[in-house]
């Protein structure tokens, strides 16, 4: 079923409204295997909504999403099975408060993939050490710093062997000095798993992304390689946004 030439993710003409407010007004793009794409744009533009439409946490009103050729938006698809293949890293972490770091990472393996407890814990430990947190395995979320929580969140997504990980502003809730650790972990994943990252970290976008997607008002305004976008953006609005956010967040470090 998975053929290497096939587009891994295809999002086609996705619309989403909350009540009378139209958030997404026809968004289309594709991703290849192990590609890293960064979505940037002003707040309230539908970036997070788009991520939640992809894994159907908020099903789109209209439009289609395919993962490896299987349509996620088809009501006949087994959405739980599809979500195993799509990791999600949340802005406010959403670690399971009642479980240790280790169990946060292993619970998906145990309960969803039905892997034996011992093997699941072993795998979870591997993922924790990948994000530099094997020493914190026995700690509960309330005992971890924000940066540690988010790295557990990433390990939790990785443990499921996803084809794609969706990152919803993964560093926005962190103290500035903790952002670096999380970005380092994300960088280390580049080329190993496909990542779709909503972020304001321009350094990360510039140095790590294969492509940057600029969204505003529920549509994709422009997309292109970091080089094109930062030095030669076609749309005035893109240049204006990148200029302003670059001044605000700094576009040279952290990437």
């Amino acid at each position: 079923m998975e053929d290497s030439s096939m587009t891994m993710l295809e999002v086609k003409d996705v619309y989403k409204s909350y009540g009378d407010v139209a958030i997404l007004k026809g968004v289309s793009f594709t991703m290849e295997k192990d590609e890293t794409k960064v979505i940037i744009g002003p707040s309230g533009t539908g970036k997070s909504t788009l991520l939640r439409c992809i894994n159907q946490l908020s099903p789109p009103d209209k439009g289609h999403v395919w993962l490896n050729g299987v349509e996620i938006t088809n009501p006949k698809s087994n959405i739980n099975k599809m979500r195993e293949k799509i990791g999600f890293v949340f802005q406010d972490f959403n670690l399971f408060n009642h479980l240790t770091a280790l169990r946060n990472v292993s619970i998906g393996l145990e309960k969803v993939k039905k892997i034996e407890k011992e093997a699941a814990h072993k795998r979870a430990m591997q993922e924790l050490s990948r994000v530099g947190l094997e020493a914190q395995a026995g700690q509960y979320p309330a005992q971890l710093s924000g940066g540690q929580k988010q790295r557990v969140g990433i390990a939790r997504a990785l443990a499921m062997d996803p084809d794609l990980i969706l990152f919803d502003e993964p560093t926005s809730a962190l103290d500035p000095e903790l952002i670096g650790d999380v970005l380092d972990v994300m960088k280390s994943l580049c080329g190993k798993v496909a990542m779709l990252v909503v972020t304001h970290e321009m350094g990360f976008a510039r140095n790590v992304a294969d492509e940057i997607i600029f969204m505003e008002g529920g549509i994709i305004v422009e997309q292109g390689s970091p080089k094109e976008m930062f030095t030669n953006a076609k749309m005035a609005r893109t240049r204006e946004f990148l200029g302003r956010i670059g001044a605000l967040y700094g576009d040279q470090e952290g990437g």
Partner: protein
Amino acid sequence: MAADFGQFFINSLPDLLSGLGNTLLLTFVSITVGFFLGIALALGRVYGNKIVNGFCVGYIELIRGTPLLVQLFIIYFGLPSVGIIFTPIQAALLGLALNSGAYQAEYLRGAIQSVETGQMSAARSLGMNKLQSIQHVILPQALRISIPAWSNEFIYLLQYSSIAYIIQVSELTAEGKFIAAQTFRYLEVFAMIAVIYLLLTIVSTEIIDRIAKRLSIPGIGAAKRVSLRDI
């Protein structure tokens, strides 16, 4: 006088203990059945569709909106007229369990709704279905959060199971009334009974407290100590 009371106490003890047995039976069975009923009703209220939710709301409001005594009278005196006959203890167990279920449902609903919505999103995005998410993520947190309220419900049931004496269940209070009626020593008998209830309350509060501490997890519900002053 003191020696006389001692003798009276010893003579009364067998009857009081048999009453105590029924009190404990009423309390434990109704808290347990009520617990599972409460979980089902709370989940129905929070996650059920319109029909399920409506049914649960209707049940809870009906039970909470009518006196326990009236519910017991309907079960014990009323239902026989439509051919459903219970022994006193059966009627009391049923009434207390159905009643406690409604109250426990409301404590649990509050606890379930206090679990952040992101917990459900995170569980679903791992590929858990709704039931798995509730079972492995929502309930383990909600149950811990609801322990202090649940502790109150336990003590409430322990004491208000005494209402069963009105439908002829020979629990602790009924036995006391029986002894007092025979001996006319009302003050001593009911003082003894009060002390027994008090001791049971103190001991069970302490036990629930220890369970809460053992189950406590940093950052969840903060296993608040329910002291006797709060009851």
